[in-house]
Symmetry: C2
């Protein structure tokens, strides 16, 4: 098969689109093992044959690209705008500076050993690729507690333990269904046997008494705990439905643990989320150039020419893996096709905000909360308790994770606050959840990702939503296509969007294209 | 107030019962702080005044009693039948011998650093007393993962991931309720507003489509995972109700995480459950006599005389705290009142069985299972994956925890098997859950608690069940009463039965009685 490289690139980039590229790879006999699991990804050994690749961005997809290309024999240069690697996978420690456009810089002053995962903080156990890299490079993993029935839900001005809300809701829905079955409302629609089985199941599942009424039996908590000797426990009375659902804001907390990639226990790297990025970085460190923001992306014959800082520099290469978000890429001068330029416009990015405080671990000693999340209809939305070092004197409390969980307008609203006002909202929220304790919060810092240079958001919001499976249409398809020697990667080009897993998976796809081009060119 | 000690003892022991004892304590002005939390229990300083107490049993309630009495100025002797402390809180390590009546002894040969929690393995985060002792004595705590949606449920000969069972069940129940509401079956019984709110809530909660039908959207899992670029995920189709509930055996797994003291994440001591018992032991070690089984419990005037091994020894003391289970105590010669003797008869003890194997961590690398439980209707019932040291080469897999979870006859049946047969059942179960992997299981040992000398079960089964709050009636009330200078403690004398918390709580109650008696006597 005598496709010239040029012809192949044109074919891939402008005519057939991505499907054609895969067909070409297949036609070229380019065997890339994937059957044994995505975590075993490996380009054919020596496929690089000394060819050069410039990688834009040293986040997860850039670092994964650099590592995989290097071990396949490519010469790699990674250009990273910041003075650190990891991109959004950022663990803030003592001394780190937080820059936001339009806000005073903040300097973190956490105690030694403490960190604040300002970006991703948890990994679903099903994310085999990112976990595979962690394992390969010796990054320790520990449990991230993502659900805690002891934590508080603060909605409509009332705080209840999650336990009571969740269990009362299940009980009351079960009671309604039992009522309907007992009234023969479903006879004929569902088989008699199935209805009988459902009705029997509801008794323990919804804690129904012999009249079919939900009777709390401890799952929702006790008003008096069981003790030694004669102290029998006393169940909490049931809440009214209105208390369980005072507003639509409370909906997501009920659903959260049922989202596929928000499992009740997840994983976190020991020592901070950035440990994975750093472990990959160790494999490719000499190839990474920090403080090198890209100022233009140009094609130069078959090759690519990147203009970048510091100062006015140029790096040429045979290929380019561009991992910059569509929101950033749109603004960088480039030679892209009109279709690509059009597709880069208007990709909506989530601009979430996180706030971290240091504090003595009052949530553990007062409230038996060892990791997990609290929820609120206040603007801070979500509180994350540390999952590690239980019993230590101090910890970092994430007192806000604002991503539209309880109100889709919250990220914009909260990001609009000044740094101090953000902390104030959090202190009020913590005071409601833990009366008398907000005064123990110290060293608060906030990161509004929409204002962070070289990020300007945490991820693309495709119409199907994060983790969703809807069709994404032509704009997405266009963004996947190479531009000649330039291929694209990043969480936004995956169906595991807003996750490090998606960044790595999309990098693998991009690298397959590079390998296909290299092979065709060598043929 | 001039109650003589003798009179008080008689009053407490034979006339007024426990309520009278508390009245006496109050009358004596015996202030024991409890308001600040049970974990702050402390007898009045110096209340012991050199008085002697013999404690029967060095499990949690015996060790807690010894520690609290010592720091209040009592002279303490603890008699322990075994050659180790901790009682049922037993972490088995390399070289440990497992004795069961009627079975060959087993010798554990786990690799260094590995342990098998043959007794308790998890602590609810709400168990403030046992956690308080752990904190006080520097025992590290880490997350015990008690629920894992990635784990398998093996019922009716079919294995499904828990995720699919749980999410499909919620979806299908929600669909039925939506159907009933749409058919106006509940009009009039529930307010129109509430019905509308419930119906709206069901859409996301039960993943209902616009026809009100449950349409899996990923919560139950994917048949194809989302990938990089164009690989959209594909939801698993819904299971039929019969597959979700093939038999009543599957009921408990659906309920498990909703049980108050079986939270989705719990706590475990770093290094093995016995670390807490050992930490308390370090406080009282010189007072503990191992290999000293009690052979008779006698009163001697106002005092108590314990006959015990090794050989024929006697220990006299002013008071006795007896922490032996009712099942054991019934068989030890004693001077107890006829009422007490009667009450000690026929307390039903759970005779659960656990099996531990060592293996490479195939469940992590193959199946993304990092801690949590699998369930089955096979005789092994319940599998527990390790919650610690993720990514380590090897771990201890608890391949059976048989306690009647899926069939109440299982403990007796499984305990009846020979050691090797128990392992065989487990290997078959693991093979079903993890095809091709059972051959990796090695060094299996089993502990049938009903056959273990000085335990003969793991705990009293009161009619209200473990963690329940039902009335326990006269037999229980009788067991709480002191016999003159002898007071009683143990998990069986608490409303946190079958937990270390209950053992500690009951000890605190028993110690209050001792202090009341000491005070009265000194008055």
């Amino acid at each position: 098969m005598a496709l010239t490289r040029r012809a192949l690139l044109e074919h891939i980039g402008t005519v057939g689109g991505l499907g054609a590229a895969y067909l070409a790879m297949e036609a070229l006999g380019l065997a890339i093992p994937t059957a044994a699991g995505a975590e075993n990804f490996k380009l054919p050994g020596g496929s690089g044959d000394g060819r050069s690749v410039v990688i834009l961005g040293a986040g997860i997809s850039g670092l994964v690209s650099a590592y995989e290309l290097k071990r396949a024999g490519y010469r790699v240069t990674v250009l990273e705008a910041r003075d650190r690697i990891g991109g959004r996978a950022w663990s803030i420690r003592n001394g780190d500076r937080i820059v936001q456009t339009g806000r005073p810089d903040q300097r973190a002053s956490f105690s030694p050993g403490l960190y604040f995962n300002a970006g991703p903080a948890r990994i679903p156990s099903t994310h085999r690729v990112i976990l595979g890299y962690a394992r390969k490079f010796g990054v320790g993993l520990e449990t991230f507690v993502n659900v805690n029935r002891n934590a508080g839900w603060d909605f409509g001005g009332k705080v209840q333990r999650e336990r009571r809300m969740v269990e009362d809701m299940r009980g009351q829905l079960g009671e309604l269904l039992a009522k309907a079955i007992d009234a023969h409302a479903l006879d004929g629609q569902v088989s008699k046997d199935e209805l009988a089985a459902v009705r029997r199941f509801l008794v323990p599942y919804a804690s129904l008494d012999d009249k079919g009424r939900y009777a709390p039996g401890g799952s929702s908590g006790w008003s008096v705990d069981g003790g030694g000797y004669a102290q029998a426990p006393v169940p909490l009375p049931r809440l009214a439905f209105n208390d369980l659902a005072p507003s639509p804001a409370v909906t997501l907390p009920y659903l959260f643990e049922h989202i596929w990639d928000m499992q009740s226990t997840m994983l976190q790297p020991v020592g901070g989320m950035d440990r994975i990025a750093h472990a990959i970085y160790q494999q490719v460190k000499p190839s990474v150039r920090l403080r090198s923001p890209v100022t233009a992306i140009r094609r130069s014959g078959d090759r690519v020419r990147i203009e970048h800082g510091p100062g006015s520099q140029m790096t040429e290469a045979d290929h380019c893996v561009c991992t910059l978000g569509a929101n950033l890429l749109e603004k960088i001068p480039n030679d892209f096709s009109p279709a690509k330029k059009a597709a880069l416009k208007g990709v909506n990015y989530l601009a979430s905000v996180k706030v971290g405080f240091e504090a003595p671990r009052f949530w553990e000693s007062d409230d038996n909360i060892f990791g997990g999340l609290a929820w609120t209809d206040r603007a801070n939305e979500n509180v994350i308790y540390p999952s590690n070092n239980f019993g230590a004197a101090r910890g970092v409390l994430v007192a806000a994770y604002v991503a539209g969980w309880t109100n889709r307008d919250n990220p914009q609203k909260f990001a609009g606050y000044g740094n101090e006002q953000r902390l104030e909202v959090c202190r009020d929220s913590i005071e409601a959840l833990h009366p008398g304790r907000s005064k123990l919060l110290s060293k608060g810092v906030s990161v509004g990702w929409g204002l962070v240079p070289y990020s300007e958001g945490v991820g693309a919001l495709w119409p199907d939503g994060p983790g969703g499976n809807g069709a994404r249409g032509g704009q997405y398809a266009e963004l996947l296509k190479p531009e000649g020697p330039i291929v694209f990667a990043g969480e936004h080009l995956s169906y595991q969007g807003l996750w490090q897993e998606g960044a790595a998976l999309s990098a693998h796809e991009a690298l397959k294209l590079v390998a296909a081009m290299a092979k065709a060119s060598a043929a």
